[in-house]
């Protein structure tokens, strides 16, 4: 009968061991934004999310209320005061679920702001921050294409 508590103890020890594979209490540090960037201060809400399978990236689009209204409206309904942000990450396999990919290394944060109209059209300011530390990119190549892309996105249905 003495064997029973020993066997039970062994069972408990074994069942505890079998759970060790799962990482616990971990944040996704690679995908996190540098705190100094103060992204939350922009007060934006999620508008949509995207995946590019060829480039193995995933992105989340954020916007303020004006940007959301504009995105819901007719194409070209841009108005001053809109703020849009697109954060893009390299994808990585989800360590906790075979069958999923989650954000990996932070790749870029694109920020678009519309200003007061000049020549009947709102002025658009576009900035692209890249890498883990979100360093402002000096290169302005493809800016017009990126602005057009960002302004063309429709919000995802969020009932």
């Amino acid at each position: 009968m003495k064997a029973t508590p020993i066997a039970l103890g062994a069972l408990l020890a074994l069942s505890a061991c079998s759970q060790h594979k799962v990482p616990t209490g971990q944040r996704n540090a690679d995908a996190s934004l540098p705190a100094a960037f103060n992204f939350n201060k922009l007060g934006l809400r999620v508008l949509s999310t995207f995946v590019n399978r060829r480039q193995a990236t995933t992105a989340t689009l954020y916007g303020n209320d004006l940007a959301r209204q504009a995105a819901l409206g007719a194409p070209g309904a841009t108005q001053p005061g809109e703020v849009l942000a697109l954060i893009t990450w390299r994808q990585q396999p989800d360590p906790n679920w075979f069958g999923a990919r989650i954000p990996g290394a932070l790749q870029s944060l694109e920020l678009l702001r519309t200003g007061p109209a000049s020549a009947a059209r709102p002025a658009v300011r576009y900035q692209c921050f890249v890498g883990k530390d979100l360093v402002l990119k000096a290169d302005t190549l493809h800016q017009q294409a990126r602005i057009a892309y960002l302004l063309a996105q429709k919000p995802a249905v969020l009932p």
Binding site: L11, T49, F50
Partner: protein, 318 residues
């Protein structure tokens, strides 16, 4: 020694006899465990089927094969409970009664349970070492489920469904007369849209794309790295949409499928692992589950994450 031993013997002998009698006695407490008929057995390539039969069928089919040592009480009582629970969660003998999407979801979930070491149960493999799943078995199973995942460019039906839903949806315009409530009493929380995104997921196992939102308590906990356990008041909302892929491999959200909540309160929700669980489907927010027992399904799936406060998401901070 001998002086001390004699009162011990006087006590031990009757105690031993009593225990022996009790052991024999409990053998008569033997709730029946039947093998109901197999109505629609699991079909898969032979290599896959063999692994599943060997590792899962004792508890997850109507072809349970109890060995003599499984039939000895009190072990038998536990075995019997495991089989009943196992069949209720997943039964390969009634496999064909499930829609194809549900079959696929169950297979992916099963592979993930095995990968996390949650299945087969260690107390089962201890007595039945032949049921252990080797690294090679895992590779076979992973390859098989991966072969079932097909995410082609969106067809007209999917595009139309998404477009129609979009046309009917105007944020702020949706004002249901009554707030939908899940069978466990948790109400739909419309405010999730104002929470922060703490992760996004491309689920190639089921063709969805997701955003996980966290409320202010969750966001603070992430920033302060206090996420195991999560503090009371934490709330998550996970939204899933159909994937709409184009021929270039660009994927955007299509039809809204569901929002799922996890609300942390280790007192209020003590019976369900400290979390309140809920799922609302379609833009009409139809509560999921026939009765409050639907949470068993949530907990079973999240069980491999029990050392991570039952949370799958690795949150990121902004």
């Amino acid at each position: 020694m001998s002086v001390a031993a004699s009162p011990f013997r006087r006590l031990l002998l009757p105690a031993g006899a009593l225990l022996g009698a009790a052991f024999v006695g409990i053998q008569f407490i033997h709730p029946p465990l039947e093998n109901p008929p197999v109505t629609g057995d699991f079909q898969a390539p032979v290599a896959v089927k063999n692994i599943v039969q060997r590792a899962c069928y004792d508890c997850h089919s109507n072809q349970t094969n109890l060995r003599w040592f499984d039939k000895v009480a009190p072990v038998y009582w536990q075995v019997s409970d495991h089989v009943k629970e196992g069949r209720a969660g997943l039964n390969f003998s009634t496999w064909q009664s499930m829609p194809s999407d549900a079959q696929k979801a169950k297979l992916w979930e099963s592979v993930n349970q095995i990968l996390a070491g949650a299945m087969p149960l260690s107390e089962y493999t201890l007595a039945h070492p032949e049921a252990k799943v080797s690294a090679q078995d895992v590779a076979v199973l992973k390859q098989y489920v991966a072969s079932l995942a097909k995410n082609p460019p969106a067809d007209t039906a999917k595009l139309n469904a998404a477009e129609q839903q979009y046309q009917h949806w105007q944020p702020g315009a949706v004002k249901p007369t009554a707030v939908p409530v899940a069978p466990n009493g948790i109400a739909y929380l419309p405010d999730y849209k104002n929470w922060q995104a703490i992760s996004t997921t491309e689920r190639f196992d089921n063709g969805t794309i997701r955003v996980v939102f966290g409320n202010a308590v969750a966001v603070k906990a992430i920033r302060e790295k206090h996420i195991n356990p999560w503090p009371n008041g934490t709330a998550f909302a996970k939204v899933a949409w159909d994937q709409l892929a184009d021929t270039e491999g660009n994927v955007r959200p299509g039809a809204f499928k569901q929002v799922e909540y996890m609300l942390k309160d280790d007192q209020k929700y003590a019976a369900t692992k400290g979390w309140g669980w809920a799922r609302f489907k379609t833009p009409k927010m139809v509560p999921y589950g026939k009765d409050a027992l639907f949470t068993t399904e949530c907990i079973n799936c999240h069980q491999p994450m029990k050392n991570n406060d039952f949370v799958f998401t690795q949150p990121l901070s902004h």
